[in-house]
């Protein structure tokens, strides 16, 4: 399930289609343009999978002796990736 998008002009909330992610789409209510966050991109999808695998590997590596070290490392990677999505 995708996050709903709120039109900045009429405040109508709607769920964009998967292929509309990252696009400039017309609000279904007022027709004005809405900037949809995210990316619908093969490279982006691949990158997301890569980030999760990398975070899991880092978590296992740092959590060998102290599990909370692993949790912090994995959490830091996932947190950075979450912040990175706002750059697009």
């Amino acid at each position: 399930m995708r996050d709903p998008v709120t039109c900045p002009h009429c405040r109508h909330a709607f769920e964009p289609r998967r292929d509309q992610l990252g696009g400039l789409i017309a609000c279904p209510t007022c027709g004005r343009v809405v900037d949809v966050p995210g990316l619908h991109d093969p490279l982006w999808q691949l990158g997301r999978i890569g980030i999760v695998v990398f975070a899991a590997a880092l978590g296992f590596w740092f959590g060998r002796h102290e599990p909370w070290h692993g949790a912090v490392a994995a959490g830091a990677v996932l947190g950075l990736a979450w912040l990175l999505r706002f750059a697009f």
Binding site: Q20, G22, G23, L24, I25, R32, D41, W44
Partner: protein, 191 residues
Amino acid sequence: MSAKPWELSSYRLRRKVLKLFGASFHVYDGDTIVAVCKQKAFKLREDIRLYRDEEQTQELMLIRARQIVDFSACYDIVDSETQQKVGAMRRRGLKSILRDSWEMLDARDTPIGKVEEDSMAMAMLRRLLSNLVPQRFQLQTANGAQATFRQRWNPFVFSLEVSTPAGAAVDPRLVFGAAVLLAAIEGRQGN
């Protein structure tokens, strides 16, 4: 004040030479510049903006890619003045390997037409001879041919002539957006 480029029945897009970063086009009505197009450099996603003059005081149109990778990318076209989406152009990646092909979508992302190179034989010839054979595209909808995009033969400067017949059934802003994309995306491949 001069007419907006899409209000003209024919106009010409010409790539600016000697531009270090990004790309820039001028849109001509005869010898008069009616719009300036700036393609932002160092952007992950293609971001093209059209202004009325070189000083960039009035933005006319914004074209932005949804994807980072150009292959089968979709480009949204927005009228900056009214803040309304005009439509979108989607590149048909696999088809374009042999013959450049784009799908034209309306404001609700419904396909309404396609822009294709004139013929498969000419498209193949162009791929073998690089930019020596100028490209020619046609916009086809259910109502027939709506616009023609003709590249002028010039191995050094990319120049594209656009003509729309009287009473065309497609939003002229969408035709203009398609011309800009052809010049920016396809024109880049030839150089």
